[in-house]
Symmetry: C2
Subunit: 454 residues, 2 copies
């Protein structure tokens, strides 16, 4: 062990720095399973802001790269370890205080999204953002990626709920940004700059979140279609008129994969299935559901089922949530996250199908359709090198397709390391240069998550 690392260990409470090779190995990758992930020098698990400051001050002085890590559920390799670097895991930072009077929560980054929801619910309040991984992903990771989810079509994404942050900068300076003030325009909107910055500008050590009164019971509508285009057209007809609380899409592969596992009687012959909901209060929710059912019917839905029963509705939402694990049963997944402006949804899904044909791959598309945010799931066998190569090829070509359609390479997962080669194609050289200027200003030695984000 280097003298430098020994000095860091000595500066931090016992057990904060881990160098056991077996443990290090378990921190090499996040759920993106980045094949190029390195082996870190150490994993550091601080409990307090001051300890994070110590780590960054040390890393900045020694020019050691630091990869911040939440719960390790990232899907773009944003938390892939670097050889000789530090993995700074926030998993031990788990305090939360809910203030029901101001409807806010002050949270440390290591708490899981589901735990934040639970703590809010204990006070009769609701934290909306709901990534599919909400039971296992951390709030700090949600902030790093500006995570979305299913209800975001109506309720917005993580950044819409972040009122304030404490952030430790690359040089170890701790800075407080924003706070429990609903409106506050004093100075630059720096709180917002850090939400979605993927650990490249600082390490968030405390968050002030805005909570809402509880969600009302939703009315749910499920519809199957013989064509993807018809389903996509129905999305436009719905979002032009109302604000559903969920508007999800599954393709034939996903429908069948879910049916294989759950045996709930889904129509295996359908080309697409929509799961939609409205949580508007009282009869309004049921009216919305009726409107959506009517739109689905007018767009040629083969079957339409509406329910105001929460358990029945939840079964279909669960089916949608289960789509990724169900497709994963067919092989390893490269999980895409491209988004397009809503009118391009059918073109994107059709283009993905053509790429699947061309590369002789199974690619299932599920989507937060109301947001234009899709998750093409590329199924492959890692033991089959040629197939893995074709999958990697398709992964890139799907991003190129999204860019051609005026879309984004990532709607909610982040760029991480896996999507970085495509970022410049989307945002252009001027925006890339603007990123570089801000990075240089905040992290001149480039120690924070180098290689990730941009």
């Amino acid at each position: 062990m280097s003298a430098a690392l020994s000095a860091l260990i000595a500066e931090l409470p016992d057990g904060t720095v881990v160098t056991d090779p077996d443990i290090l190995a378990s921190y090499r990758q996040d759920r993106a399973r980045d094949p190029d992930a390195g082996t870190p020098l150490a994993v550091v698990r601080p409990r307090r802001t001051e300890e994070v400051q110590t780590v960054l001050r040390w890393a900045n002085a020694h020019r050691v790269p630091v990869v911040p890590r939440g719960a390790g559920t990232g899907l773009s390799g944003g938390a892939s370890a670097l050889d000789g670097g530090i993995v700074l895991s926030t998993e031990k930072m788990r305090d939360i205080t809910v203030d029901p009077v101001t409807r806010t929560a002050v949270v440390q980054p290591g708490l899981l999204n589901a735990e934040v929801k639970q703590a809010a619910a204990e006070h009769g309040l609701w934290y909306p953002p709901d990534p599919s991984s909400f039971e296992i992903c951390s709030i700090g990771g949600n902030i790093a990626t500006n995570a979305g989810g299913l209800c975001c079509v109506k309720y917005g994404v993580t950044t819409d709920y972040v009122m304030g942050l404490q952030v430790v900068l690359a040089d170890g300076t701790a800075v407080r940004l924003g706070g429990p003030r609903i409106k506050d325009v004093a100075g630059l909107p720096l709180t917002k700059l850090f939400v979605g910055s993927e650990g490249t500008l600082g390490v968030v050590t405390e968050v002030t979140l805005r909570l809402l009164p509880p969600q009302h019971q939703a009315s749910t509508v499920v519809a199957t279609f013989a064509s993807v285009e018809a389903a996509a057209e129905s999305v436009l007809a719905i979002t032009a008129r109302i604000r559903p609380s969920m508007l999800e899409f599954m393709d034939a592969v996903a429908i069948n994969a879910v049916e294989d596992k759950l045996r709930m009687g889904l129509d295996r012959s359908a080309a697409a299935m929509m799961v939609a909901a409205s949580d508007d209060r009282g009869p309004a929710g049921a009216e919305d559901a009726e409107f959506m059912a009517q739109v689905f019917t007018e767009h040629g839905a083969t079957e339409v089922f509406s329910t105001a029963d929460p358990d029945e509705g939840e079964a279909f939402v669960a089916a949608r949530r289960f789509a990724i694990p169900a497709v994963e049963a067919k092989g390893a997944l490269l999980l895409e996250d491209v988004g397009v402006p809503l009118p391009a949804l059918a073109d994107l899904v059709g283009g993905v199908a053509r790429l699947a044909d061309h590369h002789e791959l199974t690619i299932s598309v599920i989507a937060h359709a109301g947001d234009g945010n899709t998750h093409p799931l590329i199924v492959y066998d890692p033991a089959d090198a040629a197939m893995a190569e074709r999958a990697a090829q398709a992964f890139g070509e799907i991003m190129e397709l999204a860019i051609d359609l005026g879309g984004t390479i990532t709607g909610e997962h982040g760029v991480g390391r896996l999507k970085r080669p495509w970022l410049a194609d989307q945002i252009g050289p001027e925006a890339m240069e603007l990123h570089r200027r801000i990075k240089d200003a905040l992290d001149p030695n480039g120690i924070l998550n180098p290689g990730a984000g941009f």
Copy 2:
């Protein structure tokens, strides 16, 4: 005229650069009437992004300060002209295209907020942010200050509706950020960085705005109180449970000033009046109104009036919107914009009353109470130097009071030039240093709105 300015005039279409002293004089101040405003070298009124690039390239080369200006309705002196500088007015940039399918609008910055609302309404859509000045303020100015308004308590502020920007940087580079993609986390959230940056980081030349389906008819509740504390307590009881679409406060001075002008039968003896509304659809809105009426009654309201009639409701909203002009009839105003966490609302109003007594001034407080964002209106006579001095003193002390209560010096107007001396007290030296680093990275010569914002 300098050779440099002649060169700029030659580079731009005829009439774009104005040097007529009478016209220059009309661009010296915004509505904050900053006494320290300078006299610009020229006013430039470009029509296209390329012309803005020409202006900034020229200004950067010659180190000439540029003050971006929307409609000149700013209340913090963000658009005060500088001696020898350029005022870059966006007033001629007035194009708009609404896409009802994607519920978006692409807008040039000079269009007024009301014109954006109108263009959206022509497609059956709604642009929510509604600063009181919505009929005369520009969308570019709204973006510069991240403007709020009355419906923001439920619908959020300007930044929540900005999906993309075209921005010209200090060196004349034009960069596109974001776009018509509902979810997009590719790269840093730079769109957000520019919303609320008060013209200090770049000049916005095009905006992509998110629009909503039309607002539903609101139910309105008006209540008067014998004490400010009781009114403030009712705010907490309401926002802990429901999401009203408006929750406004007026103090006794404002009530009487409005009644002087409008003679609508307001209770002149009341210490406070609340104007609240819910636009939840169908019976839910009426239920919310009933709940709020009940909360007001339980908190000792002296009179409570509910109506589902939109004209009746609108009369009270108009009364609230009329409060500033009504108080202005009593003298010149220093218009404050401080905000506090909701539980501190009564303390803030009480503290302002003590400052008014101490300085022998009339200070009326109106507030977007549901946001904790207040507008203390300091009435003074500019011809009375001693009184003007006391008013200036109170202006600063109100900000100090807000900071002491964990609040902000500006909830929605921006820091501009008038509030700048208090910013560091609110956000602290670390955050100030972070601002400086970003400014230096983006505008190394400091030509963009120097002296404003931070």
